[in-house]
Symmetry: C2
């Protein structure tokens, strides 16, 4: 409970007046904007780089944040697409949406002071400006480095951790001894799902691309086994059967496509499928993504397939963060981050590492200002 | 509660010794057997008609039941298919599985006496023999005609009613004022789902084939509106939007295919889809059924898709039957049955009426002995 109370102190700190820096400094802000909607994989041509000056606005208490890390997430592909979704798409010529961390470099805020490290929707730019109202409304918070490092706050204690935690606990409902299968096992969310599954006493089977990644997932994160999806579909099916001899009780799906179809053929009675993402389908052209053709296995096995959007659980984040920070401190859980360092111009190429599966663990871009 | 107690008396009657008929009478039994597994729609060629003599076995207390009605159900298509399912497939040359009702014509049973009307797995034959053990294990029960007619026990108070009731109540979880969509709205299950939805204060929209069926569903069963699926897909989509301006909260799916895909595009936040069947896909050749390509709408809307097999709720049937029998008696619910009368030879053609959508309401074959 030590960690929970530490987190609560962080929350309470929001309310305390802090020393204000009434700087009139001007910052040169380089920004990545969405230039066009990608067809298939996003490329550098879908983005433009612009520059503008930012400074502390007069009037409402505000702050300027200098970006430290940007988080690269599969969900970004969805945000670039037009149409109805759980969140409005990024508009053409708008700064690309991105979460990340940063340091407060100028402040008239009644909540944040210069030097504070914050986490939130800083977007793909070097500097961002938040009024106190905006920082309240966009879920921005001060990072408490007493209970976790900045990288931990961006991974296990950030969106990937919250996604793993609430998907598995609230939709999956883990049961000791049952079998949990996780796709994108080496990814930001997958690695945490697997470790949570082990903490809950489940048999955990990962799915990842390549023998090396599979071995890594077992060695580093304690998965019981891991199936290589980079093999012919037929042998993937027989491998899958070998790794899950007792069938599948929970499937945490980050990929969709043929892997989802294979899992559907091995469901147990009252199995739960958490639809967290479908990275294999995000970049399909013309919306011709095939559906899971074995979905009637849900009927046969009285199974359930349910969608997860982590924002729904935001009120419960403090409890999850407190629990995870304890597991991290106790060595029961670890996170692997893959940090690319460079100027903000590297954003499009770094994003593409996600979709080609080149990253190992949570992918981050550490922003270095251009000289 | 009057009806619940009446039902319980029926259950208790199972235990009381009743007058035994130690008949040695021989009955000539005509049977429909599965001759081959259908590819696509089942035809008469997939069945054979055989004859054998049956009589009361010596030894264990038993009875002979003369079939009155056979129930024709979409699930039968699944039972004819090889492979893993919620119930073993019907073997080649086995009598085709079927539920129905019948009259006890010979008995050494300690439970059932001559003249009793029973309901259960009588199969596609004129006579069936049940030992007391078998009748206990296969869910056979005596019909209490004080609380419902034989036709009501085969529809609203039988499998279709139980399927509608537990699917809607346990998986759908109806909420007053929300929108419920039901496919196969004029069918055995659909008509009851819609009426239960109205009883629960929902806006109920049916989907059925043809303007006539649609009008019928609204007039007879009180659906708020009904969409004709026999129109070009594009106009079906725009019709759907008109009929469900506030989106869909519960979809009771009996058909799968393109209709399921359309509904997925109109889901509300935390919508529930009950996968009860997929009649549009049962007869697809070679297993090339497409999956629901818009399934990622589950993610966007945090929605749930869950399979239903009514047998899971068998212990709760008495409660549902009691409630439904009261609604029937009070005129809050009605059932429409479509009864074909003829010899057992009519079984294959009658079954095909289901898959071509020729029936209006619960389809039954009333068995007339061949002269």
């Amino acid at each position: 409970m030590m960690h929970l109370s530490a987190f609560r102190q962080t929350i309470r700190a929001f309310g305390s007046g802090s020393k204000k820096s009434l700087s009139s400094q001007v910052f040169r802000n380089r920004q990545i904007r969405l230039a066009s909607r990608p067809v298939g994989l996003p490329t550098a041509a879908n983005f433009s780089i612009t520059e503008e000056d930012v400074s502390l606005p007069r009037g409402e208490p505000s702050m300027v944040v200098k970006t430290t890390y940007l988080s690269l997430d599969p969900a970004m592909r969805g945000w670039m697409r037009e149409g109805r979704s759980y969140i409005a798409p990024v508009g053409i010529n708008e700064v690309m949406r991105a979460t990340g961390t940063g340091e407060v470099v100028a402040s008239s805020s009644s909540v944040f002071k210069v030097g504070d490290i914050i986490s939130g929707m800083v977007n793909a730019q070097e500097y961002s400006v938040f009024s106190d109202t905006k920082s309240r409304n966009t879920g921005l918070w001060k990072i408490n480095t007493d209970i976790g490092t900045e990288l931990q706050w961006l991974s296990a204690m950030g969106m990937p951790g919250m996604t793993a935690y609430f998907g598995l606990m609230e939709i999956g409902k883990p049961v000791r001894g049952q079998t949990l299968v996780v796709s994108s096992a080496a990814g930001a969310v997958g690695q945490i799902v697997g470790q949570l599954g082990k903490i809950k006493g489940m048999k955990v089977v990962g799915i990842a691309g390549g023998a090396e990644k599979c071995a890594f997932v077992c060695k580093e994160f304690g998965f019981d086994s891991c199936i290589d999806y980079k093999q012919p579909l037929k042998s993937f099916y027989s491998d899958f059967k070998k790794h899950c001899p007792k069938g599948v009780d929970i499937y945490f799906d980050n990929v969709g496509g043929e892997i989802l179809d294979c899992v559907l053929t091995r469901l147990n009675y009252q199995a739960r499928i958490i639809i967290c993402g479908a990275i294999s389908q995000y970049n399909a052209e013309g919306g011709n993504t095939p559906g899971p053709k074995n979905y009637l296995s849900l009927l046969v096995n009285r199974a359930r397939m349910e969608g997860l959007v982590v924002f729904d659980y935001s009120k419960q984040y403090p409890v999850a963060i407190a629990e995870i920070s304890q597991w991290l401190a106790a060595g029961k859980m670890k996170v692997l981050t893959d940090v690319v360092t460079g100027p903000i111009d590297k954003f499009p190429d770094t994003l593409n590492m996600l979709f080609s599966g080149q990253n190992n663990g949570k992918l981050l871009l550490k922003i270095e200002s251009k000289k």
